[in-house]
Symmetry: C2
Subunit: 156 residues, 2 copies
């Protein structure tokens, strides 16, 4: 149970790949994707999680989050219950000073979309911006994974 | 992970109360209550559960179900994220031959509503009908707890 403070950016080139210290294959779907509450089923490599998030605050940075690890086989069955469509992506982790960027490269209907997220301790905390970091899209609902699942990048 | 086969009936008098071998106070809400998938948070006495159910089949009796016990304090926080409104009820368990009836007496906005459910091994299995058992409402969406949560008995 925690509050997330996150800022989100587009990624303008591939340089982050050589800086990544970890890489995961992620498949995820939504059992609910409305703006007041999301229920997400995620398989990340060999682990699976059920995650419930509340409404995002006005500035788009703070959000209630609850997460439990679940059985991978059960997660595969739960993915079949999810709203269309299922998201496929690779997540790269890149260290930058004392922060970590999570960079998601999307595939399938979202091919061409790459987004970076950084978690902060307060809404005003400063952080380093690597050369591959582009325009900020924090709070832009279109870039929520729950939105991308309903309205994929190829339709934008 | 299981398939539920259930039949549901209205209850016409209080006689079931003296036959009950167990009684639980239940508080539950929905993180999703659409017809293709429901995500339920339930606190039953001192235990709490997160339950995900799939779409009901055409005859209204068979349904995919996944359930995990969760922390009661966390469940109380998750109830705050649920769609309005939260359901308050007492569940009575009554043995009838080799079956068990679950009888829910609702309170608050659903005062006056009492519903009994029986779980069967197959859709055609026979079972005993006690004197307090009334009209069958199996498959009637209005009596789903997920529907009652959105459209309580007092509005019917």
């Amino acid at each position: 149970m925690s509050l997330e403070i996150e800022r989100k950016f587009l990624v303008v080139n591939d340089d982050f790949k050589s800086e990544a210290y970890q890489k995961k294959t992620i498949k995820q779907g939504y059992l609910n994707s409305d703006k007041n509450r999301t229920v997400r089923v995620r398989i990340a490599d060999n682990k699976a999680f059920l995650t419930i998030k509340g409404k995002t605050n006005l500035s788009g940075t703070t959000r209630f989050e609850w997460e439990k690890e679940i059985d991978k086989k059960e997660a595969e069955e739960l993915l079949l219950l999810c709203e269309p469509s299922i998201i496929d992506k690779t997540r790269f982790l890149v260290k930058s000073d004392h922060h970590t960027y999570e960079i998601d490269e999307f595939y399938g209907d979202n091919n061409g979309l790459i987004v970076a997220e950084i978690e902060l301790n307060s809404e005003n905390e400063s952080f380093k911006k690597p050369n591959w970091l582009g325009k900020e899209v924090t709070g832009n609902v279109k870039y929520y994974n729950s939105s991308i699942s309903k309205n994929p990048f190829k339709n934008w």
